[in-house]
Amino acid sequence: MSASPRETLDSPQKLQDACISTEGLSVSYAKSYALRDLHLEIPRGSITALVGPSGCGKSSFLKTLNRLTDLITGCRVTGSVRLDGEDIYQSGFDVLSLRRRVGMIFQKPNPFPLSIRRNLTLPLEEHGTQDSAALAAKTEAALRDVGLWDEVKDRLDSSAMILSGGQQQRLCIARALALGPEVVLLDEPCSALDPLSSAVVEDLIASLRESYTVIIVTHNLSQARRIADQTALFWLENGAGTLIETAPTEQFFSQPQHRLTKEYVSGARG
């Protein structure tokens, strides 16, 4: 299953580009497949949008990339997911540090019911930052990165629950970015927000390109078109989520290859 160092040296081009690559990845719950036999390469420092109708395995796919599938009882993952060439499902793999390297933002903002400051310092402390000056510096930097610093700097010790939905979502992004991840997974991060907050969060996501490898699930095709470098279409086939087509975003929308992509992009299906 796992590539030997020899093979790695043989194909440097391919591995240099791919931050994440999956081979024959399947996810099943009890007896039904959520995702079947998925082969996908995610280039480093780019934004990849996953689109497709509801229930076709996009969220399940995201959850395989930081092994959040481990939390779901009865969920089985087969095939391989490689992060920087290393199989994250190999036994003994450090899941907690994997999740530091692969951050995740959820559809509904989920700040902890603690102070704004604590939302950032708790994960930082868990991953080894103990010094209070360093914690304060990282907190400020993360909040500045998401444009929240000026809005909250005077009330860092108030509960995060008093923030608006858009602010909460940016706090969640700040919390993930503070850990210095390589990859950021976003599961419909704008769909629970009002249009104005949504636009702010979208700009923020677009600004993550190059510093991070970003994978975003979205139902908003125009959003995918605006921010993504490559777009992938998922579809439900024979009761399981399948990858239909992956292409650079411009090509995905202007010259779709697959019949389903054509229909989905034109609005005829999905």
Binding site: N66, L68, L71, V95, L96, S97, L98, R99, R100, G103, M104, F106, K108, N110, P111, F112, P113, L114, R118, L122, P123, E126, H127, S158, S159, M161, I162, C172, R175, A176, L179
Partner: protein, 287 residues
């Protein structure tokens, strides 16, 4: 839009039910005050706190010091809570986050059964097992310690079940968020789940404390009922509740009224507890 006839009926019925529930506490309090009044008027509050002893059967010239009973009640309750709160919260955490599914299910059932055991059975067990065991270390055995241990066991299920239910009602999204940030289980429990569930756990502790303050039969059976301010865990004590239960059967007139003052003092303690909690608990953040 005016409410329909059905709505008015429902509102009326609900109002009546609410008035009954609210009225009960007012009536009980009024009853206590009326019955306690003769003693309070003739003896005065100061003698209930400063007399040289407790000899109420002698009429208005007797001794009416309730301080030993107040001290006994507070001491045995505090001792019980000191044991029951950590044990209950830890057992809830174990049940919720560490035990395998089957074990946690059985464990919960056992705790529920523990909550259902009648207090006289606890008292009986305490009398024949716990008290002789304590006697081996320091006689007489019937003591503050025995009372605190028995009470702790009795209120443990209240603390554990309410803490477990507070933890269970935390949204799943907190834990997904914690997992996605790579927080370990211990950090998640200590720094996220416990603070988030603190109001619910606190409410459970208040209920348990109120129950411990009011518990009668079991403490009466194991505490020895000597009227004295305890100076060690091994001293026998008498609680306010035991004071009433022991003497009410033969108390007449003035003595009887003095026992109602005991009851009033107990109500006062519970009221004090609730208002202290009200004052100390942080105002919830609005969303």
């Amino acid at each position: 839009m005016s409410p329909s006839r059905g709505d008015r009926w429902l509102a009326g019925a609900l109002g009546l039910a609410a008035a009954l529930a609210g009225g009960a506490i007012v009536l009980i309090l009024a009853f206590l005050v009326i019955e306690a009044w003769p003693a309070l008027r003739q003896v005065g509050l100061s003698r209930f706190l400063g007399d040289s002893g407790w000899l109420p059967a002698a009429g208005p010239d007797g001794n009416f010091n309730l301080v030993p009973m107040l001290a006994g009640t507070v001491a045995v309750t505090a001792g019980a809570m000191l044991l029951a709160v950590p044990a209950g919260v830890i057992s809830a955490i174990f049940c919720r986050y560490y035990a395998p599914l089957g074990v946690s299910h059985i464990y919960r059932r056992l705790i529920e059964v523990l909550a259902g055991i009648p207090s006289v059975v606890y008292g009986f067990w305490g009398l024949v097992v716990l008290v002789p065991w304590i006697t081996r270390f320091r006689p007489p055995g019937q003591s503050l310690l025995a009372g605190a241990l028995i009470l702790a066991l009795m209120v443990l299920p209240t603390v554990a079940l309410l803490a477990e239910s507070a933890l269970r009602s935390l949204p799943r999204s907190y834990f997904e968020g914690a997992a996605a940030l790579g927080l370990g289980r211990f950090t998640t429990v200590r720094s996220l789940a416990l603070p988030a569930a603190a109001p619910g756990i606190g409410a459970g502790c208040v209920l348990a404390t109120a129950r411990a303050l009011g518990e009668t039969m079991a403490v009466l059976m194991v505490c020895g009922n000597v009227v004295q301010v305890p100076t060690s865990f091994f001293d026998p004590i008498r609680t306010l509740t035991a004071n009433i239960a022991l003497e009410m059967a033969y108390a007449t007139q003035f003595h009887r009224s003095a026992l109602f003052v005991s009851g009033l003092a107990l109500m006062g303690l519970v009221g004090l507890l609730i208002s202290a909690v009200e004052r100390l608990s942080p105002k919830p953040a609005y969303e």
